[in-house]
């Protein structure tokens, strides 16, 4: 039973202020993870949980400044290190808060292992993640920059990592903890269930321009391709997700 939880970058950071943590939100998420009952182990050591977090005000800020996105790369090692460094700083905050609660979280940095081919296709070997899980650790990955054939290095979004790992790890449940209680319709109500993009295209539109890694429209498109059922919810819905309930929007 593998559960993947994505913590949205805008949930755990203050997205409008560069490199500013939302410590209260991260504490709430960390409490929910600590209290999660996933694999029958002690609550302080949830078995078979993989956490992935986005960039929020840590990653996007630097990526935009250097003109780097998921399909526009850079050869500048200094730019890559700046974006990556901001993400690892955020990653250390996340891991620190989890370890404070006796959750055995450890960092996995995509720049160390992943890469894209010439058409942007992702290769993300999951050997290390699986080995960490097998030893009872909780791997914590993050949006990052990765080498991209012919383009230097491009952004790899947390959502892409979630979609890829859901397949390679054979995950049972995937949760996206966002700033909204689910995918919203035109009236601002949570859509209970999405099974195909066309049914919600009018509402979601093409939000690719609002976020370096795709926004909600991109998330829904990506998640529709994921095999296990996926939920989009906010911090209020996170405990319910871990309890096996169905908070927010179910995408499948």
């Amino acid at each position: 039973m593998v559960t993947i939880l994505k913590l949205g970058g805008s949930v755990i950071t203050e997205k409008d202020r560069a490199e500013t943590l939302d410590g209260a939100a991260l504490d709430r998420a960390s409490d929910a993870i600590k209290n999660a009952r996933l694999g029958g182990r002690a609550t302080s050591a949830p078995a078979d949980l993989v956490v992935v977090h986005g960039g929020g005000s840590f990653g996007h800020h630097h990526a935009e400044r250097h003109g780097v996105s998921t399909d526009v790369g850079t050869d500048d090692a200094g730019a890559v290190l700046e974006i990556h460094g901001a993400m690892t700083t955020l990653n250390r905050f996340v891991i620190g808060r989890l370890q404070d609660r006796d959750v055995p979280a450890l960092p996995v940095h995509p720049l160390s292992l992943a890469h894209r081919g010439a058409s942007g296709e992702l290769t993300l070997p999951s050997d290390g993640v699986e080995a960490l899980l097998a030893e009872g650790f909780v791997p914590v990955l993050h949006g990052d920059v990765v080498p991209n054939t012919g383009a230097g290095a491009t952004v790899l979004s947390g959502d892409e990592i979630v979609a890829d790992l859901a397949g390679t790890l054979g995950a049972d449940r995937v949760g996206l903890c966002s700033t909204v209680p689910g995918v919203l319709d035109a009236e601002g109500n949570v859509i209970d269930r999405i099974a195909e993009y066309d049914a919600v295209a009018d509402v979601l539109g093409d939000s690719a321009a609002t976020d370096v890694t795709g926004g909600m429209a991109g998330k829904v498109r990506t998640l529709l391709d994921v095999d296990p059922p996926t939920w989009v919810f906010d911090l209020d819905g996170l405990p319910a997700f871990f309890d096996g309930a169905s908070p927010g929007t179910r995408i499948e």
Copy 2:
């Protein structure tokens, strides 16, 4: 043409003082790397160079305090993070000095990708390293802690990384930059060439107890199994190594 350079932990740190960089030594090594002519590119961007560094006073100190070695592991995520964190701190120093010299160095952290099986056998996927090389970057790896089947996490030495990558990358030359000008005989003279361990066993003895990752005897044993020719030299020998000469001791 792939060249692998190992920078000994005791070369770039003051091994007797916890977490103390030897900045002057690291500057000398970084200058030699900047000036290296390896792949026909500009001297500021040596092509197909992989750098691996040891732990010195950053890694060994924490590993010993937690009783963790290459074959004794820990389940304590806090201990793993402390050892790993010290190593990533040293790694950032190395990368910073290289980037200061326009060498496009980027970090690769073994904890993110490598693991050991139940008998300690190493799996180190090199996809990411090869992708970084292909885009002209210089991957910089380091001794680390990695998940180990049934043992939590154990130490992975820089020498093991060098030996493994030499095979998977099909390296042409491997250099170990040490604190001594080569492997020394009983009179303190550099041994020119070592082709089998038995020939030097009396001189090297069993030094496994002096270093959490094996000392010179362990290095020689490990390097004898490496396919490409390997040299052991000190900082004075590093420019000669990059020039294609044969400084210090040749092990093959």
